[in-house]
């Protein structure tokens, strides 16, 4: 545990996100948990690229030890894609709110059961 403190701490951050996704019924909160999960995965990728005493992978005179650039590239694109998909998730939450009048999972499930699983009973917004 002490030799791998950074990795262990990252994993704890990750399962905190996982816990929020499983335990909370509110959909915006679930997406918050999902973002935390995602950020810690980014960290888990970046951690092994680091070399103690190294510098950022921008070549220059006087430096010879650089961090590995490959995980940086993968995560850089993943962050931007992550926010685009997060926006898509939030859009679905907004549509669910408009169709059911709530964003709590349990209330939506109860709604669908009492309705004979017909969604969209709720108010059509103006």
């Amino acid at each position: 545990m002490t030799a791998h403190f950074s990795q262990s701490a990252t994993i704890l951050l990750m399962v905190a996100g996982l816990y929020i996704v499983i335990a909370r019924g509110n959909m915006v909160k679930k997406l918050i948990g999902l973002s935390m999960f995602q950020s810690s995965v980014y960290l888990l990728y970046i951690l092994p690229g680091k070399l103690i005493g190294g510098t950022a992978p921008i070549l220059g005179a006087g430096y010879s030890v650089y961090a590995n650039p490959l995980p940086h590239v993968l995560i850089l694109t993943a962050i931007v894609v992550g926010v685009a998909t997060l926006a898509l998730g939030l859009t679905l939450v907004v549509r669910i709110k408009e169709a059911f009048g709530t964003i709590e999972e349990d209330e939506i499930a109860g709604d669908m059961r009492s309705d004979g699983s017909k969604p969209g009973r709720g108010r059509k917004s103006a």
């Binding site: 030799a3 791998h4 950074s6 262990s8 701490a9 990252t10 994993i11 704890l12 990750m14 399962v15 905190a16 996982l18 816990y19 499983i22 335990a23 509110n26 915006v28 909160k29 997406l31 918050i32 935390m36 950020s39 960290l43 970046i46 951690l47 092994p48 690229g49 680091k50 070399l51 103690i52 005493g53 510098t55 950022a56 992978p57 921008i58 070549l59 650089y66 961090a67 590995n68 650039p69 490959l70 940086h72 590239v73 850089l76 993943a78 962050i79 931007v80 894609v81 926010v83 685009a84 997060l86 898509l88 939030l90 859009t91 907004v94 709110k97 964003i103 209330e107 969209g120 917004s125």
Partner: protein, 179 residues
């Protein structure tokens, strides 16, 4: 080692923010805490020499995604309902997952050491970038040249997600909702 100790301090701060996010019931507070989480993460990326990633995380995680969350909160609710189910099973699942992953860590080389597999195998972009492309920032040359296919795919995913959002939230011209 200054880098290791700064990393540990920032990770502890991230842990504190995480506890805050898990415990707080107001969604507005949770979103603002998530912005702080992203900024701490960006700081940590700078310590880990990933400057491009840090810049992206600060602009995206703390800036744009917070705006999107607040926009969604404006259109939905800002307070979470109290839990109906017990919180015991999710905790067990999370802890078992954490235990399995931490157990799997024990074989990895130490943080920051040069004998990690990533520094020993794979394409050596650092040595090739200058002669192949003349671009000193290796992240840019890998992103746009060596792995141009990847980036084309990622751009297409951003495009697709944008189209999805527009289709789902667009108002019809005659003022009626699409259902």
């Amino acid at each position: 080692m200054i880098e290791t100790s700064v990393t540990i301090v920032i990770l502890l701060m991230l842990g504190a923010v995480t506890i805050g996010i898990v415990r707080v019931r107001g969604l507005f507070a949770a979103v603002v805490l998530l912005g702080i989480y992203s900024f701490l993460m960006a700081t940590l990326f700078i310590v880990l020499d990933a400057v491009d990633v840090a810049m992206t995380e600060a602009a995206v995680g703390a800036g744009v995604s917070t705006v999107f969350f607040l926009g969604a909160l404006y259109l939905t609710d800002t307070v979470e309902a109290p839990p109906v189910h017990g919180q015991f099973m999710p905790l067990v699942v999370a802890l078992v997952t954490a235990g399995a992953l931490v157990w799997g860590l024990s074989d990895l080389p130490e943080f920051g050491s040069p004998n990690q597999p990533i520094h020993q195998q794979g394409a050596d972009y650092l040595a090739r970038s200058m002669t192949d492309t003349g671009i000193p920032n290796v992240v840019t040359s890998v992103l746009a040249s060596y792995r141009g296919f990847d980036t084309l795919g990622e751009t297409t995913v951003v495009f697709t997600a944008g189209i999805g959002v527009l289709v789902l939230l667009r108002r019809r011209r005659n003022g009626k909702e699409g259902s």
